[in-house]
Amino acid sequence: MSKKTTSAWSRRDVLKASAASTAIAGAPLFFTRHAYGAEYLNNPGSNSTVTLGFNVPQSGAYADEGADELRAYKLAVKHLNGEGDGGMMNTMQPSSLKGNGILGKKVEYVTGDTQTKSDAARASAKRMIEKDGVVMVTGGSSSGVAVAVQSLCQDAGVIFMAGLTHANDTTGKDKKANGFRHFFNAFMSGAALGPVLKNAYGTERNAYHLTADYNWGWTQEQSIQASTESIGWSTAQKVLTPVGAGDFSQYITPILNSGADTLILNHYGKDMINSLTQAIQFGLRDRQVDGKDFQIIVPLFSRLMAQGAGDNIKGIFGSTNWHWSLSDAGSQAFVKSFGQEYGFPPSQAAHTCYVQTLLYADAVERAGTFEPCEVVASLEGHKFDGLGNGPTEYRAGDHQCFKDVLVVKGKENPSSQFDLLEIVEVTPRAQVEYPVDHEMFAGGDLGTCNNGV
């Protein structure tokens, strides 16, 4: 094995040099690719189209929500381009939308699968930004993913319009200047649910938490615990469960002997369907603890989950961002055009994604440019109405929307397979509002907006 000779070394030098020179000669071509005439990343310039990126879970525990989000995005693009009946574009106030795309450019879109994993979501968002040249990325359904993609968009220099993400962190400790959230958050759920639970179940209860083990679960558990303890409840135990576990029986058996009389399920999507179904199969709701009926609470409820859980959701309290049975003009217009397109009513995930797309388009129209920093400025502090939640404000301090919150309950006698939740109370905005530096949201900084160049 004495194959190395001195001649091999000189050959190596030649090769090294040639490889290096190839790299050096080639490099400038690529470093400068996006540099021409752009004062911000992915400037559509004089193109006749503009591209948006829809990054949703198409597989994993939140796939149902993702599919509905994608339907809403497609509908929003249709309406922005002046096709269909216009949906909530007709009820939105104030509105600068003209139905001829955004700033006269036809809206196109690319889609990606987040797989409900931060890694895959970032890869997919990067593809949209680097390859497809999107000016805005939107999507969600997992707060872990939303936080990861939001920080990517901040670093890259595009706008992120969060879809369904409910963790306090998204506009709390992980808030970013380029990111905006229309959806409500765990703190608001807690604040809205507290009084309702007090009326329904009294002030002496012992709660057991099962919590999805990631940032959303953590912040929701914290919020609900604070809220229930403030009405006098005690907390028996808090147990973390992995996302997408499928079988929750090993987490449910211990509840039977814990002395708790209330189970709080900080689960979402298929996880919530599974854990709730199994909790009921274990007979939790038929139990009596110290003379009190055992109760289950699902703080974040959605119609899609209710559909999956079937009869099990009857009488269970929760909160939601929006529900299709609302009777205001915006909601009705949206339900009508979504129903015509797909044959069933939209979920709250679909609603927030549709609204976010419209809000982005409107902000661009008002700013007169796609430049991220201008769009940020035009969204900050923006007040609007007619999008299904009543008067709403994008707070400048943390880019969180403030609006009324719905407390809902699983309907005892549903009239159709979609009519599963009844609205118990509309909690006014004032009751769920909190200061920007509230302790559950502290530790982050919006930073400065990034144009990407």
């Binding site: 190839t22 490099a27 699968d113 680097e130 990861a148 999805a212 990631y214």
Partner: protein, 385 residues
């Protein structure tokens, strides 16, 4: 003979380097010439090349190599958080940590061979995954993933007097931003170095020893040789490659998630190696590029794209064609990959490299030597992908 193979190795190395560095040019027609995907080609290519040192040379099939990838990522992100945003300390730390961990896992797992070894490594990887996912959350941040924050210590950066701003700092190589194209070139250079080391190992006495273990370990033992240390070193080296790949993932995108350690990720690198050609030098890289291309390009196809593709068909047929093709793209890309994998394994058991060799035979008529393929073939093979 020796001299001849040395020359052909140099040609292979040169061809490989040029092909890798010129990826932005020749990948353009495939729509894959954007930094993120090319970074992935380089990173997973490196991962597979390292895996091949164990699997290709010794025949020991590890089903837990993703654990080292994940550990490398976590180590790198912690280096960014605690020490400095410069990538070199992060990479060194990752390789060392992954090497130490590989020693521990290898020391235990290599007591068995064959399927028992595979199961042991799989068990270790799943343990690491579950630890990262739900037990060691203070270190790994669980499902959310370990990310940079404004309040990180960054001791060395602090001493060096780098100003703290309101935006997150970026990973850099002495000031050169490590995302986008510079990030790709950095990964490409590391890949080329990794490839070079892999050639040297293949051609070294150590490599020959490993091949001996693969062909007949019992006979090796009869000659009075203790094979364990050789195996352990091969395991550690491939673990360090995986750690390096994990570090590069964190370099180009400073985030580490537990899903990198999941068994599917371990399985993926096995697929890459087999698809490209086990035991060949270039094969694992080709397999990695092939799979990553599918994952990123096919999964992004939606009905709008398909409608454009089938635009030439009459309306009724177009709708059917789009529906049928829709099963194989978007979220159904796994289906396409599975089919292609089956076809490859059934008809080309030696992977892409065997296909290249057969093509070479077709072109030259009769071959002079059925040895490893020459340099130019790497780009030919990629045209299939």
């Amino acid at each position: 003979m020796n001299k001849l193979s040395a020359v052909s190795d140099w040609i292979l190395f040169a061809g490989f380097s040029i092909a890798v560095l010129s990826m932005p040019v020749w990948l353009a027609p495939f729509g894959a010439d954007y930094p993120d995907l090319m970074q992935r080609f380089a990173i997973f290519g490196l991962f597979a090349i390292g895996f091949n040192i164990l699997f290709g040379l010794t025949g020991y099939l590890s089903f837990g190599h993703a654990a080292f990838l994940g550990i490398g990522s976590y180590a790198a992100v912690w280096s960014f958080k605690l020490l400095t945003m410069n990538v070199l300390p992060a990479i060194m730390l990752s390789v060392v940590v992954a090497g130490v961990f590989a020693f521990a896992v290898g020391y235990i797992s290599l007591r068995r061979s064959g399927i028992y070894f595979s199961i042991l490594t799989l068990a270790f990887a799943q343990m690491s995954y579950n630890l990262a996912y739900s037990v060691l959350t203070p270190i790994t941040n669980g499902e959310t993933g370990l990310q940079l924050t404004l309040s990180d210590a960054r001791v060395i950066d602090g001493i060096a007097g780098i100003e703290v701003t309101r935006t997150l700092p970026f990973t850099n190589l002495f000031g050169l931003k490590m995302s986008g194209m510079p990030g790709f070139y950095f990964c490409a250079v590391v890949l080329i170095i990794g490839f070079f080391i892999s050639i040297r190992i293949f051609r070294s006495p150590f490599g020959t020893m490993l091949k001996g273990i693969k062909s007949n370990q019992t006979r090796m033992a009869y000659t009075g040789l203790n094979t364990r240390p050789y195996l352990l070193w091969a395991f550690i080296i491939s673990g360090m490659y995986a750690g390096l790949a994990g570090a590069l993932m964190a370099v180009t995108d400073p985030l580490a998630g537990a899903e990198r350690m999941q068994w599917t990720a371990s399985g993926e690198v096995v697929l890459m190696t087999i698809l490209g050609g086990v035991g060949t030098l270039v094969g694992p890289f080709l397999g990695a590029a092939f799979i990553k291309y599918f994952e990123n390009i096919f999964s992004a196809y939606n009905s709008t794209n398909l409608n454009q593709v089938f635009d030439f068909l009459p309306d009724g047929i177009q709708a059917v064609a789009v529906d049928v093709a829709g099963l194989f793209v978007g979220s159904g890309w796994h289906l396409t990959l599975g089919l292609l994998f089956m076809v490859t394994v059934i008809f080309l058991p030696g992977g892409i490299m065997e296909g290249v060799r057969r093509l070479g035979l077709l072109v030259t008529g009769k071959s002079k030597k059925n040895k490893a393929p020459a340099a130019g073939s790497s780009s030919t093979a990629n045209e299939h992908s």
